[in-house]
């Protein structure tokens, strides 16, 4: 299957159709995406700030990581699921949208940054875990992470203002849903 056909089949899939036809789906899934996305950002920010030495270096880096990253991964899984549903509903439009493409690039960047940090810098964490200056590589990883996740959120909001929709909201809908 070539790429356009794949996008076409994603957009024609049952979850995509449900997203387009159910009145409840879009606002609820979008709200979940915002909540989960904000949770990913907020929890990662605590780790990134610790890498930058804020508020201090008393709390072990390993402890901050293990506490926060559980929450981060749960929120990321929820956000990804909600985002995939939003994507499926308008796959064709998203793929052609510049803000969406840049967001995926920023997400990839955040993933690579995290992998490099955990693969290399984090290995000798024992020597700077607590009450010690954080090495430059780890501080750079923290700063990069903040920059990339802020970019992800800004680009995400830009998608909503720059993409058209492939469907129309029904004019006189039958309401079977209360928020």
């Amino acid at each position: 299957m070539d790429f356009p056909a794949l996008i076409q089949s994603i957009q024609a899939s049952p979850p995509a159709q449900w997203m387009r036809t159910s009145l409840a789906a879009m606002p609820v899934v979008e709200a979940i995406h915002v909540l989960a996305g904000a949770t990913v950002f907020g929890t990662i920010l605590i780790v990134d700030l610790r890498l930058l030495g804020f508020p201090d270096t008393r709390r072990p880096v390993t402890r901050v990581c293990s506490e926060m990253l559980r929450l981060t991964w749960i929120a990321f899984a929820v956000s990804l699921t909600a985002g995939a549903l939003m994507f499926a509903a308008n796959a064709h439009t998203y793929i052609g949208n510049t803000a969406f493409r840049l967001k995926m690039l920023a997400l990839l960047g955040a993933g690579v940054n995290m992998a490099l940090f955990h693969g290399f810098t984090f290995r000798n964490v024992k020597s700077w875990d607590q009450n010690a200056p954080v090495p430059l590589a780890a501080r750079i990883a923290g700063a990069m992470s903040i920059l990339l996740w802020v970019s992800v959120i800004f680009l995400a909001r830009w998608i909503g203002f720059t993409k058209g929709f492939d469907f129309q909201v029904p004019v006189n809908p039958h309401i079977d849903f209360q928020f």
């Binding site: 606002p27 709200a31 915002v34 996305g37 506490e67 800004f154 909001r157 203002f161």
Partner: protein
């Protein structure tokens, strides 16, 4: 349904919301916000970014009260660590939120979600301030286990803030979410 819709109409009529929205829409401040297409997305992005800071700061305090996280620290220390982020975040949210309202008063004032959100924000801010005060006056040590009532109140506050976040997104979908209750219906 019509009764409730009627009362919303009366409420809006009595405080002259439509007239006020029209006036606000025509001000030069509103024009300035609308003048460049990037201003509103930028403000919304900052607003969402700050949700992450405020919601997670509050969640950290709550998770400590629930005994899930940072149990090595007294709740007072956790409050001192996160409350300044939470309150400054709320100030940023209010500033971006008010600017968004000045920019698009009709979009906000004409929805059920906006007014319900404002009501829950008022309850949430008051509740969070009282919550913080009672936590600090409890003078709890690191080993303190909080009573079920304190834990229940914590969970309720989290649900309240989640409802605020949902209502924020629902402003864009007022008719789909509220059906006949929405002035857009």
């Amino acid at each position: 349904m019509t009764g409730v819709q009627g009362s919303i109409g009366v409420l809006q009529g009595s405080i002259g919301v439509h007239g006020f929205a029209g006036w606000l829409e025509a001000t030069s401040a509103s024009d300035a916000i609308k003048s460049a297409s990037w201003v509103i997305p930028l403000l919304q992005s900052i607003h969402i970014l700050t949700i992450g800071i405020v919601f997670i700061s509050f969640l950290m305090i709550v998770l400590r009260v629930l005994g899930v996280m940072r149990t090595d620290e007294p709740v007072d220390a956790v409050w001192t660590r996160f409350a300044p982020w939470m309150w400054s975040g709320l100030v940023v949210m209010a500033a971006t939120g008010i600017t968004l309202v000045v920019g698009e008063p009709e979009r906000e004032f004409g929805t059920v979600s906006f007014w319900l959100k404002m009501l829950l924000v008022a309850i949430g801010v008051t509740g969070t301030a009282l919550y913080g005060r009672s936590l600090r006056s409890a003078a709890a040590g690191a080993s303190t286990v909080f009573p079920v009532s304190a834990k229940a109140a914590s969970v309720l506050m989290v649900i309240l803030w989640i409802a605020v976040i949902f209502l924020g997104r629902a402003i864009a979908y007022d008719k789909q979410v509220w059906g006949a209750l929405s002035p857009h219906a």
